[in-house]
Symmetry: C2
Subunit: 474 residues, 2 copies
């Protein structure tokens, strides 16, 4: 006899939680469609070759890999064993023999794989959204799960059709979603080309680019010193670091930052493009104006994923000044080269990914579900008391009638004591109880009890009952 439990980092969701989660999904989905994104879905697992090398070392390591089914493992291992050759236990080689599939690590890479695979059926530019779980074998910790939902909207098309209005549309989209949720946010924004420009003027070698961005991204959480140590360990010189570190500490406003960086990056074409792009975005957003969103330029923002190339952003609750010490509730950016991994050149994608679980937790923390909680219940409106087979059979046409009217109606499964049946209604927040006993059948009446007001009313027919129950405050 086992005492059951679930794998660490995973969760069950109760009905109360599901109603809130479904509400969030509904809001996000509606706004995605309002902005012209269409739904697609991709399989939960992809070929390992599709996913490997797209997320950086950490991603490859944290991917959940699937074993081939059946006794495949036994045969393979036996083969290896017979050879009695230690070299054969090379992880890579063995791995390929026993596993060639892995669970989705994000929604962006499968989306780009989808676009390349279906390029002949798709009209470009292509706008899609996708709301599905992803899996990462992260060390389970507070608010970090091994299975969690992402809500992604992306637009992809040939580079020549793209423009910064896409970034502006995504910022608007976020503002719309979080306004609907009554949840003020701060979007931290930056540009990979500005980081590229800073690397150029710092003298950091090109092959250290990934190491540089990975470390820099920890600036707000770990602080300058730890980031510096990490960078030095990776081979970045102290000189190079100090040459650009001042920019990551800048507390000035947008135009002051622009001023300083314009001077610093005047020798870098890449850096100048980044500044021009950011200036465009801020200018237009200022004219259009946002409702629940503040836009903040954060020069130390680099984003974890390898594949970003242009503007990048991360979303935080607007408390704590939107500091990146908290967990982000979403992020995104532009990726110009991802499709070329699959052989499609000159394609530019840009998108946003919202973390459903993070949004949920942040809203719970700020008690933001309370204002809408009354509409989130999915409990039934009516319970029919079970007095026995004969009475139930008599009542069943009434049950059917109420359900036909869209009124969620339950029948207690067995003719147990009335007390027990009433307790069931109470526990499940079912507000009305209908009793059809021998007495009611004889008198041709319907007895309806309101559990809130503790009043009882007799009706002549089920039409009257339905009419009453469908009123706003019956």
């Amino acid at each position: 006899m086992e005492h059951p439990s679930i794998p660490k980092g995973t969760r069950d969701f109760s009905s109360i939680e599901m109603n809130k989660r479904n509400y969030l999904i509904q809001v996000i989905r509606n706004k995605f469609e309002l902005f012209g994104f269409s739904p697609i879905e991709t399989p939960s697992f992809e070929k390992i070759s599709t996913l490997m090398g797209k997320y950086g070392k950490e991603g490859d390591y944290l991917m959940f890999k699937l074993l081939h089914s059946g006794d495949f493992l036994k045969k393979k291992i036996s083969n290896f064993w017979i050879k009695e050759d230690p070299v054969i236990f090379n992880n890579q080689e063995l791995m390929e023999q026993i596993s060639n599939k892995a669970l989705r690590y994000d929604l962006t890479v499968p989306f780009v794989r989808y676009v390349v695979m279906h390029k002949n059926e798709i009209f470009f530019p292509f706008k899609r959204y996708q709301i599905q779980p992803v899996w990462r074998a992260d060390k389970p910790q507070k608010e970090r799960f091994r299975e969690f939902y992402q809500c992604d909207a992306d637009m992809i098309g040939s580079y020549s059709l793209s423009s910064l209005w896409q970034e502006i549309e995504f910022i608007q989209l976020c503002d719309e979603i979080f306004t609907e949720l009554n949840f003020p946010i701060i979007i931290n924004i930056n540009h990979r080309d500005i980081l590229g420009g800073l690397v150029e003027i710092s003298g950091i070698e090109n092959h250290l680019w990934k190491d540089f961005t990975t470390s820099l991204d920890k600036w707000d959480k770990k602080g300058r010193n730890i980031v510096k140590q990490e960078m030095l360990r990776k081979g970045i010189s102290s000189n190079s670091f100090e040459r650009i570190a001042c920019f990551f500490d800048m507390k000035e406003n947008f135009s002051k930052k622009i001023e300083s960086l314009t001077i610093a990056l005047q020798s870098s074409e890449r850096g100048k493009k980044g500044i021009k792009d950011l200036r465009f975005i801020f200018q237009k957003i200022k004219n259009i104006s946002l409702k629940k969103t503040k836009l903040k330029w954060n020069i130390s923002l680099a984003r974890g994923m390898n594949y970003y190339t242009g503007p990048i952003f991360e979303i935080y609750p607007d408390n704590n000044n939107g500091s990146r010490i908290a967990n982000s509730i979403g992020g995104g950016g532009r990726y110009d080269q991802l499709a070329s991994f699959f052989g499609m050149k000159n394609f530019s994608g840009v998108g946003v990914s919202l973390g459903l679980d993070r949004i949920y937790l942040a809203m719970e923390k700020d008690n933001l579900f309370s204002t809408i909680s009354s509409s989130l219940s999915s409990s039934s409106k009516v319970l029919f008391i079970n007095f026995g087979d004969e009475e139930v059979l008599y009542a069943y046409k009434m049950i059917n009638f109420l359900r036909k009217k869209g009124i969620s109606t339950q029948l207690y499964p067995n003719a147990v004591k009335i007390n027990k049946q009433f307790r069931y209604a109470n526990n499940n927040h079912i507000p009305f109880i209908i009793s059809i006993g021998k007495n009611e059948i004889e008198k041709n009446k319907i007895r309806v009890k309101n559990l809130k007001t503790r009043t009882e009313t007799e009706y002549n027919n089920i039409q009257e009952v339905a009419h009453q129950l469908m009123k706003k405050n019956p």
Copy 2:
């Protein structure tokens, strides 16, 4: 450069497919809630110990197992190798070392695991629904996938609270769902206790029970002879087989079948209970009457899963006389012992599982989506032509206004040739195009083109446009 593909047995879903799938899910979910079921969700993977041994040999074999993450495999394999002991390559033992998690194989076992784990927070009897994917490493073939969606509704509680009204409610629930989908069905029903009774009178030994039911379930698809051969191979005597085979061939109507089996099973308490139950269900259903559903007693129906104990049923499209040669689109039944696997005694569950993908395919085959397809499009209503940054900035408040009114509105991302932008609207079935060029800004007008009627109208303000677009046939 790779040419991307997806693992066999998996599928991508386009927007057109997603809209139909989401419609099906919405109908099923609404009916589940109408009958008083509440949503829950469980993790995609469970501990192997939770799933193993619940589905029969085939299930254990077809489960997708997850490797521990990172370099765990390498270390473990190396350990095994160093010992230079062939015994260590015992599949079971090695398996446990490198994998202790597996993808969900159905929704019933995780549900029962959920109930036992959360028994102190749940009020019984507990009614829940769950709409999530499951995974099976079946040989991929036509209409059989390795990832597919199940839509389950179940009710579980102490045995003393249960009754056959639950089975009747589930039949009603199916009738409601398929009536809404305009999809006539036949429910094949049987009772495990009738099969138990037949085994008793046949002389088949008790330990062959699982083998017997697994083979019998193939009666309609494979035919009497193949089933007989299979049973003999498994150790059932020809004598025993012949003693009961006549019942699986019976073509008579319900009351004739009841008559014959009542006589045959008079010495079997178990068999008599089965007959009594089925008679109750048929009698009540006859009184209540179904809309799009026929109920058919099929004595050779046994169901694949080990865990069923009482009434069992399978759902088929009502063509081909509901023959079980076709693929079932759903099924279910009662399971009295499943919770005891996890240490909870005297609990009785009963439920239905609908196969979303099978329903989808059957409806496509019968062209049943066509009548509702016009309402299934999620495409945008308006495309704003991009004439350049200045014009877009001017138009953006109109875009925001239309979106605020709930009108799905897109902006073309770049100021490319007008032809190209019109083609985008056409390809994506966007019916209206709004052009705000220099001319319109100067004249303070809004030019709206209806792509269907090929007419163009000028408006004075965006309120007028919104008003027009929100009409039923604008």
